[in-house]
């Protein structure tokens, strides 16, 4: 077997770190833009600063945590339906 020598872009931890830094910066800028730009909103909650940002973050954390709990109840072996019992 030939051993693969080629280094790919995300094999280097510094590239992953750079990508994450850029990502965090964009998140920060988007949050700040809420205070700078004028928005015309329809729902009262939209007036809250950072409503969408906070909602998106919390929604996803809640989603994943509930889904993890669901696994305890719903998860069965891969061949659950294939085995006669």
């Amino acid at each position: 077997m030939q051993i693969e020598k080629k280094q790919h872009i995300f094999d280097k931890p510094e590239n992953v770190r750079l990508l994450l830094r850029i990502f965090y910066s964009i998140c920060g800028i988007l949050f700040i833009l809420d205070f700078v730009l004028h928005r015309h909103v329809e729902h009262p909650w939209e007036h809250l600063w950072g409503f969408y940002a906070i909602f998106g973050f919390i929604a996803c954390v809640v989603l994943v945590l509930i889904a993890k709990e669901m696994r305890k109840v719903l998860m069965r072996k891969e061949d659950y339906y294939d085995v006669e019992r």
């Binding site: 693969e4 004028h38 940002a53 998106g56 998860m75």
Partner: protein, 565 residues
Amino acid sequence: MWSAELPPFLLFYLGAFLVLFLRGWLRALVMLAIPVLGGLHLWFDVAPGIVHSVGLLEFDLVVMRTDRLSLLFGYLFHIAALLAIVFSLHVRDTTQHVAGLVYAGSALGAVFAGDLLTLFLFWELLAVSSVFLVWARQTPQSFRAGLRYLVIQVLSGVLLLAGAMAYYWQNDTLAFNHIGLEGVAGWLIFLAFGIKCAFPLLHNWLTDAYPEATPTGTVFLSAFTTKVAVYALARGFAGTEILIYIGAAMTCFPIFYAVIENDLRRVLAYSMINQIGFMVCGIGIGTALALNGAVAHAFNDVIFKGLLFMSMGSVLYMTGRMNGSDLGGLYKTMPKTATLCIIGAASISAFPLFSGFVSKSMVMSALLKGEHHIVWLMLLFASAGVFHHAGIKIPYFAFFAHDSGIRASEPPRNMLLAMSVAAVLCVFIGSYPLWLYSLLPWDVDYMPYDTTHVLAQLQLLFFSALAFVWLNLRGLYPPELRSTNLDAEWFYRRLFPAFYGRLLQGLSFIGMTSGGFVRDRLQTLLAGLTRSHGPEGTLARTWPTGSMVLWVAVLLGVYLILYYL
């Protein structure tokens, strides 16, 4: 090119027949020519307002009825058929090619059907033709999943037929226009549409069968069945309030399953129910903006969901694996597929400049205008969730995450071409929504790109991604595990078979215990019968003709005496 009254399904059925006898490049040419010629004909020659019917027995079947709604889905299905055909050109399997063409043709037949009977015919043809795309995988699992799929789809058709008959009895017409939930007919038809639309609890045929189909078959499947149902709902049940809540439930519950599902095509199947939820919700609101949003989202969904299923189909085709737990690191050798998948993921997540954004925002705006605040929050939650499971999870676990060590090369050129065209369409519609808006059935002045919308959507998506990154870095993200997750299908895949099995066991127990008694009685009975009817039995003897004449004479004599008495 040809008469505008000629229904588009004819060309597809004719093509499917030709494909049976053609091989090699000639077959490929015919298969490509059908959606191209049919689509161009529909685009240039066919105008709204055509009604064309053919007589069958005492009924007039309206096989071609065009208005802006049916034409929009007509264009869409030609595009979808072309993409799926290009994607499956390398396949050497006549069954799949013929089934794909008949299936696409039936979808066109259904959207141009002007009466419920015609709709029913194509409704069943959709079921029967598409199941071969599942069976073509040729595994025991796909065979069983296909059977379950077929039973449920045919059941939907039976309900539609019963509903159509009741509708005829109530209204003395079979015309397929607004139906509403009045009377038994409305509910039967609603339920039939609901099954095909994957309403909650009726949805498992989709998550069961689609991931079991062939890599190319799923691309066909994802385009037609559910979108025909969305079309039918938009025509028959626009503004039916219960749809808002059904739609909201559809957007929310599948995303939990999508997060813990391992089979990436099953993740996409769950996310498909989530996307249909947005459409169903829009149809339920029933305003022009909401209905436009619903059908525009159906249009975009066929293309971006097709693109995602194509990218996963390519991964399955090249690696033979589809579980998130087995994949990862494929970007190293499949960078083009990875990029195209990310475009599909950005579109389904409704990133600005990608197609999902310009249609989903219409439904969201319509919800706010209609003051459905709770449902709006549910759909906002689902929008964040869809980015989480379809937008990030699919590309991340297939192409990045941990290195699985698989070094698969890029898929064949036809697959890459189909994905590229779909990706271009996603970006084109997202960046220039006016093209799609000009095709929408209702007149609405709507512009998705303003600072408020774009900023809100970007914040929602980036902070959803931030949650993913945070959960991953903290080790809180649930790992991909080989597993089956129980869903509503448990009732018919486990509970009913178990109940039925017990019933059989019980019956055989009764048979075993009471067997001796019954056997004795039977033997006595048989012995008695043998005595009278057996070879030596009294009743089996041959009688001379003379004795019969004698007995007839006796009978007649008795009769005479009785008569004179």
